[in-house]
C-alpha cells in the first residue's frame, strides 16, 4: 500500500485529500468574495452633508 502510494501522482494525492480541498473550498471564496468585499464596503467614502451657512 505504501509502495502504491509512492507511485501516486501529485494530483491524485491532492484530489484524495478531502481536508485540503475543504480548506481551499472555504478559504478561496471567503477571501476573494467576503473579506475583499467587506474591505471595499468598509473603505467606501461616506457622504457628509455640507454644514448649513450660519
Amino acid at each position: 500500500m505504501a509502495e502504491g502510494k509512492d507511485k501516486m501522482s501529485f494530483w491524485q494525492v491532492f484530489y484524495d485529500d478531502i481536508s485540503l480541498l475543504f480548506l481551499l473550498g472555504v478559504v478561496i471564496p471567503t477571501v476573494l468574495y467576503i473579506i475583499w468585499g467587506v474591505m471595499e464596503y468598509a473603505n467606501a467614502p461616506t457622504y457628509t452633508p455640507p454644514m448649513p451657512a450660519p
Binding site: I18, L24, G25, V26, P29, L32, Y33, I34, E40, Y41
Partner: protein, 511 residues
Amino acid sequence: MSNELEFRTCPITGKKVFKATQNLIWINAVTAVVFILIGGIMAFLIAMTRWPAVHLLPAEMFYRFLTAHGLNMLIFWIVFFEIAGLYFGASVLLNSRLAAPRVAWFAYILMLVGAILVNIMVFTGKATVMFSSYVPLKADPIYYLGIILFAVGALIGCGIFFGTLAVAKAEKTYEGSLPLVTFGLSAAAIIAVYTLACGAIIYIPTFLWSIGIIENLDGAMYRLIFWGLGHSSQQINVTAMVSIWYLLGALTVGATPVNEKVCRTAFVLYILFINLAAEHHLLTDPTLSPAHKIVNTSYMMYLAVLASMIHALAIPMAAEVAQRKKGFTKGMFEWLSKAPWGEPGFPAMIFSLIIFGFIGGITGVVYGTEQLSIKSHNTWALTGHFHGTVVGGTTLAFMGLTYYVIPLIFRRELIGKKWATAQPYIFAIGITLLAIGMGGAGTLGSPRRHWDVTFADAIIPFSFDPAVILFTTLAAIGALIAVTGGAIYVGVSVLSVFFGRKMAPNEAKIL
C-alpha cells in the same frame, strides 16, 4: 432506536445498507417531498396570478406565496433531499456505517423545526420578505430563528457526511480513491459548509436586529454576505445534481466516465471557484470596485463554468461508450435511440442535462456579465434562468433518482410505473416552456416578483410590448404542465413509499 450496526446487503448492487442510514435517508427524502408539494401548490397559484388572463390572487397573497414558494423549493425541498443524498453517498456507496446516527436525527429535527417555523411565519403574513429578505425589510424574529435552526441542522448533516467518510476510511470499507459520485457529493458538502456558514454569519445579526438588540444593519453588507448563502446554496444543488447525473448514468445504462480524472478535476474546479458566482447579485452595486466584480464573476467563475462544460460532455460520452459496448454501434446515434427512454431515470438525466446547460447555464453566463446584468437582473429573464438550473436541472435529476431510491433503499415496488416514466417528459416540457416564456418576457422588460405586469391600477399607465403577454401566457401554460408533472412525481413517490408492495430481501429488481 435500532442497532446502529444492523445492515442488509442490497441484492442488486451488493452494497451494505445500514438500517440507521436507510431510516435517515427515508425521513429526509419523504420530508423533501412534502416541501416540494407545498412549493408546487404555491407555484401553481403564483403562475395563475402572473398570467393576466387569470390574475388569481390579491397582491398581498401573491407576495406571501411567492416568499413561500422560493423558500420551500430553493431551500427546504432541495436541502432535505441533498442531506438524504449525502447519507446515501457516504454510507451506502462506501459500505460504511453512518457516523453518529443520533446526531443525524437531531440535525433532522433542527431542520424540520426551522422549516416549519419559517412556513408558519410566511403563511401568517409575518415574513413577506421574499427569498432574499433584504434589510431593511423586517420579518418576525421567529422567521430568522427558523432559518438559523435549519442552517445549523443542515450544517450538522454535512458534518455527519464528513464523519462518515472518516469512519469509512478508518474502517477500510473501500479501497483507493472515493467513488466518483461520493467525491462529487463531497464537493457539494464542502460548498454547503461555506454556504451555511455565510447563512449563520448574516442571519444571526439579522435576528438580533429584528429583536432590537442591534440597531442598524448595513444593507450593502447584508447583500454581500446573504448571497454567500443565497447563490451558493444553488451551487450545492448544481454539484449534487451533477453527482446524481453520474449515478443515473450508471444505474440506467451502466455508464462509467471515460476519464475519471477529468471529471474529478471538474468537481475540484467547483469546490474552488463556483461560490464566487454569488458576485452576480452585486454587479450593479456602485460601491464594489470593478476589480472585485471582474475577478469574482469573470476570471474565477468561468473556471466553474468550464467544469460544467466538462461534465456536460463527459456524461453523454460515458453513456455513449456504455451503449456502444452493448452493441448499439449503428450510425452515429443508435446508442442514443436505443437508450432506455422507457425508464424514468434516463430521460430525467438527459432532459435535466439539456435544460440545465442550454437554458439555465448559457443564460446564467450571459446575464452574469456586468453589462447585461444591469439590463436583466430585476427582470423575469433571471427567473427564467434559475428555473432552468434549479428546476429543469436539479429538481428533475432528483426526481429521476427518486424512482430508483424507492426500490433500492426503501425496498418498495413503484406504484404507477407508466406514470413515473411519463413524468420526466411532462415535467421537462413544462419547465422548458416556463423558462422560455419567462426569458422572453423578461428580455422585453417584464419585471420579476411583480403582481400585475399590465399595471392596471397604475396612476401613470404603461404597457409593455404585446409580446410580453404572449411570453407570459407561454410561461403560464408551461407552469401548468410542470405542476402536472410535479403532482405525478409526488403522487407516485408518496403512494409507492407508503403503499408499494414490500420487496423480498433477495428480490433483485429495480423497475
